[in-house]
Symmetry: C2
Subunit: 243 residues, 2 copies
């Protein structure tokens, strides 16, 4: 029988999803039925979820696992009374932080992902526009503005990695497609040479692309988009612009 898992938040649920998912992947032989419930921000919504959780416990005889990020104390108290295993990621760590910072937290719902931060917003929009306007080599006169230029043959993950870097890090990431010819030539095209320091190769066939020397390569056939992005950011000490 599948174990039911709830991700519950009074905000978007993104944080509860991310950490909860990370924890579950450590139990690879268990099947989970996952339910995400964002914006649980009223007494009635909380009570309705509580009843649903208790109903599932009665039906299955297994305690649902609840990963929560609840800033609102009333909502927190309602749900912590459920028949499930209740883990609140905020509550657990806010206490020690308040003590160390000698401050009370603001208990403001949705500050983490919902904050209207115009700067953040514009950084992200501009980074996405940059990625789109330089996708697949369509525009290389703007390479001086790039934080990263990803090169590689088609279908090696260049476009999604650039978009991921734009959306999640605010990075300006361009990509340029390598042809078989570029690769067998064994050197970078001349117009790319001035930007060598920000070029990263993505490859699904490590041996072949190693023919091009002097630029770092990441083998994407064993990596997720997140991993490729994190690897590039880590290698360059790029300081992310947004969170």
């Amino acid at each position: 029988m599948k174990r039911t898992v709830y991700y519950i938040s009074d905000g978007t649920g993104i944080t509860a999803n991310t950490l909860g998912r990370s924890l579950l992947t450590q139990f690879e032989h268990v099947s989970f039925e996952e339910i995400t419930v964002p914006y649980v921000n009223t007494h009635d919504k909380a009570v309705s979820i509580l009843k649903e959780i208790n109903g599932i416990y009665q039906r299955d005889g297994l305690k649902p696992i609840i990963f929560a990020t609840l800033v609102n104390k009333e909502i927190h108290d309602i749900l912590s009374d459920s028949k499930g295993i209740f883990m609140d990621f905020f509550k657990t760590f806010i206490g020690p932080l308040e003590e160390e910072l000698e401050l009370k937290s603001t208990h403001t719902v949705g500050r983490s992902h919902g904050l209207l931060d115009y700067n953040n917003y514009m950084l992200r929009i501009n980074a996405v526009n940059y990625a789109l306007s330089t996708d697949d080599g369509i525009n290389y006169k703007d390479y001086d503005k790039a934080d990263f230029i990803l090169v590689g043959v088609s279908r090696c993950g260049k476009t999604p990695t650039c978009l991921y870097l734009a959306l999640n890090f605010g990075a300006y990431a361009a990509n340029y497609p390598f042809t078989e010819e570029d690769i067998s030539h064994g050197d970078l095209p001349a117009f790319l040479k001035p930007f060598r320091h920000k070029i990263y190769g993505l490859t699904i066939e490590a041996q072949r692309l190693n023919l091009i020397r002097h630029i770092p390569f990441i083998n994407t056939s064993t990596r997720s988009i997140e991993e490729i992005a994190a690897e590039i950011v880590a290698r360059t000490n790029f300081k992310r612009r947004i969170y």
Copy 2:
């Protein structure tokens, strides 16, 4: 003086970043100097970070705050000995989960974001390609495949929201630009009507776009991309395809 914050992981650092950032936003009047260190996966790397953290404590007289997701026990034990405030998001919750599931966790580094899951990878690539191929109304013959069709005037966040939905939820999200004319006409263009149930309006000027009835609108001028995406997903009960 800025308080130094470390996000340390033996994986990509994405989980540590996400939850740590959520916690910090609850302390809005404190300035933080944030340092992300992913892939801390050897004894030497851990010892080097430990020295850096202790050095900062000596320099500032303030304990650095450490948000960690460390699956490797040796690395965990080295860093938990630092002079900083050490909070490990995995360690804290893995115990209760092991007890409830009556299983030992696999302690596998990088399962959360690094898992090579070809299905996940292809879902994401296909969703990104769908978003790009249907961006800004360029291709509406594929609207039957859409999970969502976002409509709105230019510069209201359609493109980044579609890409965010593709990358983070595996959703097929198209977008179609509304002109002033469409809006003053007060009805959906005829070819969009069959898809009314999956159309969401994004607006920066609520009053004007409310002229178009029968479709839900989200005011994007007060929302982040994550919030817009979470709102759309929540309203439709869309079951995310990837995590």
